[in-house]
């Protein structure tokens, strides 16, 4: 131990500097570091002024910048650039969908059937006489819902919107917007109804109440149907952005890696990779464009309207295309990974 008590000080300056440079060089991709690490280190050491123990800040910035360039480097030519941009866009869409899916997994679970029935009963003002529950639930479902209808065409006499909203408010629901229009009930085109729809929220759930009242009194009351969904998570946009960025970077890096590896493959393998790439692009077209359209809708939606359909649904609606795209991408990577590498040049030792 030295007088200063710092064990690092026992190292000669050049050895300590070399250790720092070796640490810095870890920022480079492994393959590049294996091929050029020692050579760059020699130049860094040659350029350093005598007695220096730590790298100059300008060298740190320069090496870091060089490492980033190597990570994102593409072979010369427009085809590699086009492939990287397209791969980045497709994988970014997949990443955004994955981010959206993860965000929705943190939302409140749908209410049980009994709670949904009770809520519908509150909306109707009396217990349901012929209830039917339709539940779409599970981690794989895009847009989880529990829908309750009362299949009794006699309906509920003397039902009013105001009283239904008051009953729900008494149970802790916050009443939101609504609308009223004339139409016919689903499966009942015989008579025109006044259809009143309003939304209420509570505990991370969105309740949509639809009431169908005959315009011309025919002795039947108001028919009630409810629809409960999960409220969108507040951090979904952040998760989408993060997933998009991760996907884009992954797509770019994998394309760069595959492009360099494919340069050393036979013409037949390279042609096969191009065909597979075009097929992957074709299969990715629908889920990718749907996802970007969904993101556009999310970004430019009317702030007053609460979106209840998750963005990842636009990708999950195309399971075959997504599966085929990923399978083709894995095949291209496998084609790029196989085969012999270019032989290294012999090194001459000089005394």
């Amino acid at each position: 131990m030295t007088a200063t008590g710092d064990p690092k000080r026992t190292l000669p300056a050049h050895a300590e500097l070399e250790r720092w440079y070796r640490r810095l060089l870890r920022a480079y991709p492994v393959g590049y570091r294996r091929a050029h690490g020692d050579e760059i280190l020699a130049t860094l050491m040659d350029c350093a002024e005598p007695g220096r123990r730590r790298p100059a800040p300008a060298d740190v910035v320069d090496v870091a910048r060089g490492a980033v360039r190597q990570w994102f480097r593409l072979p010369v030519g427009l085809s590699a650039l086009a492939a990287a941009v397209l791969s980045a866009l497709v994988l970014a869409a997949m990443g955004a969908a994955a981010g959206s899916w993860l965000a929705w997994q943190t939302t409140a679970e749908l209410p049980s059937d009994s709670v949904a029935l009770q809520t519908t009963g509150t909306s109707a003002g009396s217990p349901l006489t012929a209830p039917h529950v339709d539940r779409r639930d599970g981690w794989w479902v895009d847009g989880r819902t529990v829908q309750v209808t009362n299949n009794d065409l006699r309906g509920f006499p003397n039902w009013t919107l105001e009283s239904a909203q008051a009953r729900l408010q008494a149970e802790g629901w916050s009443i939101g917007g609504g609308e009223e229009f004339a139409g016919t009930r689903i499966g009942d085109a015989g008579s025109t109804h006044a259809i009143q729809v309003f939304v209420a929220t509570r505990d991370g759930h969105i309740l949509t109440v639809s009431a169908y009242t005959p315009v011309v009194p025919d002795g039947t009351g108001t028919t009630i149907a409810t629809y409960i969904t999960q409220a969108p998570p507040n951090w979904e946009p952040g998760a989408i952005l993060l997933g998009w960025l991760l996907g884009a970077v992954t797509g770019w890096l994998l394309t760069g890696w595959a492009s360099y590896r494919l340069r050393h493959r036979t013409l037949l393998l390279r042609a096969a990779a191009v065909v597979l790439g075009l097929a992957a692009l074709w299969s990715a077209y629908d889920p990718t464009t749907d996802l970007y359209l969904a993101l556009g809708n999310l970004a430019f939606a009317d702030p007053g309207v609460v979106p209840t359909y998750p963005s990842y649904g636009s990708v999950m609606n195309h399971p075959r295309q997504v599966g085929l795209t990923l399978a083709l991408a894995v095949t291209i990577l496998a084609v790029a990974a196989t085969g012999a590498r270019r032989p290294a040049r012999p090194t001459t030792a000089v005394a």
């Binding site: 050579e39 760059i40 020699a42 350029c47 300008a58 910048r65 060089g66 360039r69 030792a349 000089v350």
Partner: protein, 117 residues
């Protein structure tokens, strides 16, 4: 062609050099105006090698350190010559126009002033 690339190719025009040798030569050629650091230098060398403008001549291990020597290819020499011609032409044009530039303040031209001096 960017200035550092032009200077690297120029540095290699007289013969193979290793990384440190190239940085020294570039600094001298640019009269200290361009300082190539290792990260930038090897990024440029990789790109030039990929474009076929330079190639690895040989490798040596000196005092335990790897030195890789780079040399200009025929393609690189041709590209350098073409760029040098272009720059020379542009510099000549600039000098020519500067000579005929009217001195607004005194009503003389640079040629007249130069001749009288």
């Amino acid at each position: 062609m960017q200035e550092p690339t032009f200077l690297i190719l120029t540095a290699l025009a007289t013969g193979p050099r290793h990384g440190y040798g190239i940085t020294q030569e570039v600094a001298e050629l640019s009269e200290g105006a361009v300082t190539l650091r290792a990260g930038t230098l090897y990024g440029a060398l990789d790109r030039l090698q990929e474009q076929g403008l330079i190639t690895v001549d040989r490798q040596e291990v000196v005092d335990g350190r790897l030195r890789r020597y780079y040399q200009l290819t025929d393609l690189g020499a041709g590209r350098l010559a073409e760029q040098a011609r272009r720059l020379h032409k542009q510099a000549t044009a600039a000098e020519s126009r500067l000579r005929t530039r009217t001195n607004v303040a005194f009503g003389f031209t640079a040629t007249t002033l130069g001749a009288s001096a």
